[in-house]
Amino acid sequence: MVMRIDSPTPARHSISLTPLIDVVFILLIFFMLASSFAKWQGVELGVGQSQEVPQDQPELMIIQITANSGWQHQGSLISAEDMLQRLSQAREEAKALNIMLQPMKGSQVQSLADALGLLREQGFSKVGLVREAS
């Protein structure tokens, strides 16, 4: 008697890739939606002296921010360029320059951030925040 052995089929059936692609697509979409590429950045704000304004310091500069994002110094409106010029001048004269931003009533955080960013760009990194005297 001759034993007959079934030989295996030569070409194996390949695994279907479709379910795999489905899963990978779902993962891809999940990671695309759930991840954020926003940079974590901002400006530093010194708040140590927000309680009271230190008086009689020659190197203290108080910059007021008006409701329409203007800058005001010693009661008069001033352009940002003029202000930066004055600040650089004051920095040359006094070693420790103390800059305080004073947002006036009706001003918004955006104009405060503008001012802080501009000052930081010009190298005035220590800027405090102070409330308007009522």
Partner: protein
């Protein structure tokens, strides 16, 4: 001359498209998003950050103070009033005094409200507040 027109029969079955290059690309994209993207943390308040120049990059901290456009305050996963904020800050005082507090304030927030919040922080001895912003385009 009457020759019969010969029309070539299209192949009965078109070859199935090769999906391997597509899978390769999709895998690459998947790996890119997995590695390069940090997970967004859900936040209690919608905050539109102000835009500014001269920004500094910070390490992402766990504790984040949110102040919405209407002045609502959220800290450490809960909505708080100004009075409650002081107590909550006090719980994390040491950590915050060392690292500073990251503050996300809405661009349209009234700055007087920001001053209120900042004064509460100063009472708790937090001297450095990082006002988060987006790069000015």
């Amino acid at each position: 001359m009457n020759r019969p027109l010969k029309i070539e029969q299209p192949a009965a079955r078109s070859q199935p498209e090769n999906t391997l290059p597509m899978i390769n690309v999709v895998f690459l994209l998947l790996i890119f998003f997995m590695l390069a993207g940090a997970f967004k943390r859900p936040e209690l308040l919608p905050v539109i950050l102000p835009e500014a120049q001269g920004l500094q990059e910070f390490q992402r901290e766990e504790l984040l103070l949110l102040v919405g456009a209407e002045g609502k305050i959220a800290f450490d996963g809960q909505l708080l009033s100004l009075e409650q904020l002081g107590a909550q800050i006090a719980l994390h005082q040491e950590q915050l005094q060392a690292s500073g507090l990251q503050l996300k304030a809405d661009a349209d927030l009234d700055s007087q409200r920001l001053l209120d919040v900042v004064e509460v922080l100063a009472e708790q001895g937090i001297t450095s507040v990082k006002l988060m912003a987006e790069r000015f385009e």
